[in-house]
């Protein structure tokens, strides 16, 4: 369980979210692997940010309240992590 450059608090929240979702996505464990992959490619600055902390808290609270939307929240996190990827493509300007 490597958290990379993530702050301890965010790493803890992420693991909590993953632990919770793992039991709900047993039919597709590749989804969690994919989410972890997205995390490993995200920018260290973003991973330690308050913004990421807020998104994680929100997703965790929501999934605990509404387990039937587990893929919605995983998808949301994946999208956010992708948008903050450290390997983000630079816009080509003419």
């Amino acid at each position: 369980r490597k958290a990379g450059s993530m702050s301890t608090d965010n790493a803890k929240l992420f693991e909590e979210f993953v632990d919770y979702c793992t039991s709900l996505t047993q039919e597709h464990p590749e989804v969690i692997t994919f989410l972890r992959g997205r995390l490993s490619k995200a920018s260290p600055t973003f991973l330690s940010s308050v913004e990421f902390h807020n998104i994680l808290s929100r997703c965790l609270t929501r999934v605990q309240k509404k387990r039937t939307k587990v893929y919605v929240y995983i998808n949301e996190l994946c999208t956010v992590l992708k948008a903050n990827s450290s390997k983000r493509k630079i816009n080509l300007s003419p």
Binding site: E27, Y71, V72, C78
Partner: protein, 34 residues
């Protein structure tokens, strides 16, 4: 008898079903691009 009656409620949520489909398609696309 199908044992999915209890576990299948995540598929009852249309938003969840769409998100799941999107995720699985993205995973598949990522695998094939590697």
């Amino acid at each position: 008898a199908p044992a999915e009656d209890d576990d299948g409620d995540d598929d009852d949520d249309p938003e969840n079903r769409i998100a799941k489909k999107m995720l699985l398609e993205e995973i598949k696309a990522n695998l094939s691009s590697d």
